[in-house]
Symmetry: C2
Subunit: 238 residues, 2 copies
DNA sequence: TTGACAATCGTACACCGTACGAGGCAGAGT
DNA sequence: ACTCTGCCTCGTACGGTGTACGATTGTCAA
């Protein structure tokens, strides 16, 4: 009826490796996925093809299909591995916990910029993703948010994290030096002061002050966490 | 040096149609882009190919390249048209203005779910995009935000809008009925209460209460706007 | 020895973006 | 009237893609 599988049953057990990855000789699903992530980090997802991945693993293209049903499942698996890199929220202080996990999430998504795009149109969360989401909901519920409020808070925080990562991924520069060069060479000339005075001003201010994505991220994150605080302990709502 | 063009000079003038679109016979860039958007809305971006687009316009595939340098430029143009659908912020009340424009942005991105994904890895904003961003910055600056604070607020709001749209686009259902069916048929069985009690609880609560993305969006939006309010008029900072 | 099964991969097919260049057709110059 | 010059159309072809199919091998149980 619905073709949307949340996770394969035995994937849920995958904390212990499936049958033993055969170590030295032959491939393994984990190796395939890991190499795919390496390639995607280097060249972007659009540069990742089954043939290239296979070659990079020293195998024939069709061999991959023994470990992965199709490319879509491969992308799902990649996203799940990336998700596993994110620190789960821990501790009694919900703000500290969510701050840590959100900062971690942004950092991870900055390391794997393609992952944000993969999230979209990818419907079946993997086991690590589920575990992580469960941990987040647990943290919020234990902090006193009602089920409905916890869901709201979760959406708000995730939206911010993903949206920030998306914007960050589409920035044309990586380092602060790039920013300066870039701004001076491209943006300012193309944003004439008379037509786009405010964008011009903003670009100039950005270049002058430098731009640290992590710091920029924390600014909005703190605002959101503070705004969520008063919504706790209205346990009757949900 | 940098291959990142912000906008073609004459694109900036494109409020008036370039040379006259030739109306009846022959194609026009605007027609090509519009049909591409129609197809992407129907089948998703990954289902959009130059050949299908051409056929759908009653033309040969290569004819398109007279109006569009390559597929990447086509995607840029599509994103720009979508951006033009978003209401620009208007009026003296900055919160009302930004609320309207953010709600409009979410609605537009929900209508064109592929557009969020196109944003990523697309580096050159089109003329409409620039106009819109300029209007947003103008609104914030006039409301008393310093240049730096306005930039922060802009990032925060845009992150929320894009992130929300991204999450919404990856939802496996569209209508409330779908939600109920979906939850009952797929999520609840696959989220056993003992392993994922909180996700289970959340899914159940969501199904019971119904789920209106627009309403959910406004919740977080209002929180953000309220949190930004006290940061106005610190004009000395920037 | 035989049979089952896991793993590898060569080949082929349909599709993709697009380079190249050949054609048609409208209007301007002579 | 003739040519020339541009815009516009698109057929063909090339190198890439995901992957269906089936042949091949290696390994182990009976």
């Amino acid at each position: 009826m619905y073709d949307c599988q949340v996770a394969q049953p035995d994937d849920l057990e995958s904390t212990t490796q499936p049958p033993a990855p055969a170590a030295e000789t032959g491939l393994s699903r984990a190796q395939v996925v890991a190499e795919a992530i390496r390639l995607a980090d280097a060249d972007g997802v659009e540069g990742l093809s089954m043939r290239k991945l296979a070659t990079s693993l020293g195998a024939g293209a069709m061999s991959l299909y023994h470990y992965v049903a199709n490319k879509s499942e491969l992308l799902d698996a990649m996203a799940d591995v990336v998700f596993a890199e994110i620190d789960a929220p821990e501790g009694d202080d919900w703000r500290a916990a969510m701050r840590r996990r959100s900062i971690s999430a942004r950092a991870v998504l900055a390391r794997h910029p393609w992952a944000v795009g993969v999230l979209e149109s990818r419907v079946s969360p993997g086991p690590e993703t589920l575990r992580h989401r469960e941990a987040v909901m647990a943290c919020l519920r234990r902090a006193g948010f009602s089920p409905v409020m916890a869901t709201h808070a979760n959406w708000l925080l995730d939206s911010y994290v993903y949206g920030f990562a998306l914007q960050e991924a589409s920035l044309p520069f990586t380092s602060a030096d790039d920013l300066a060069d870039m701004t001076e060479a491209v943006y300012l000339p193309q944003l004439p002061q008379d037509r786009f005075p405010y964008l011009h001003e903003s670009a100039a201010a950005l270049m002058e002050a430098g731009f640290d994505p992590a710091q920029q991220f924390v600014f909005g994150l703190e605002l959101i966490l503070e705004a969520l605080e008063p919504l706790r302990s209205e346990t009757a709502t949900g």
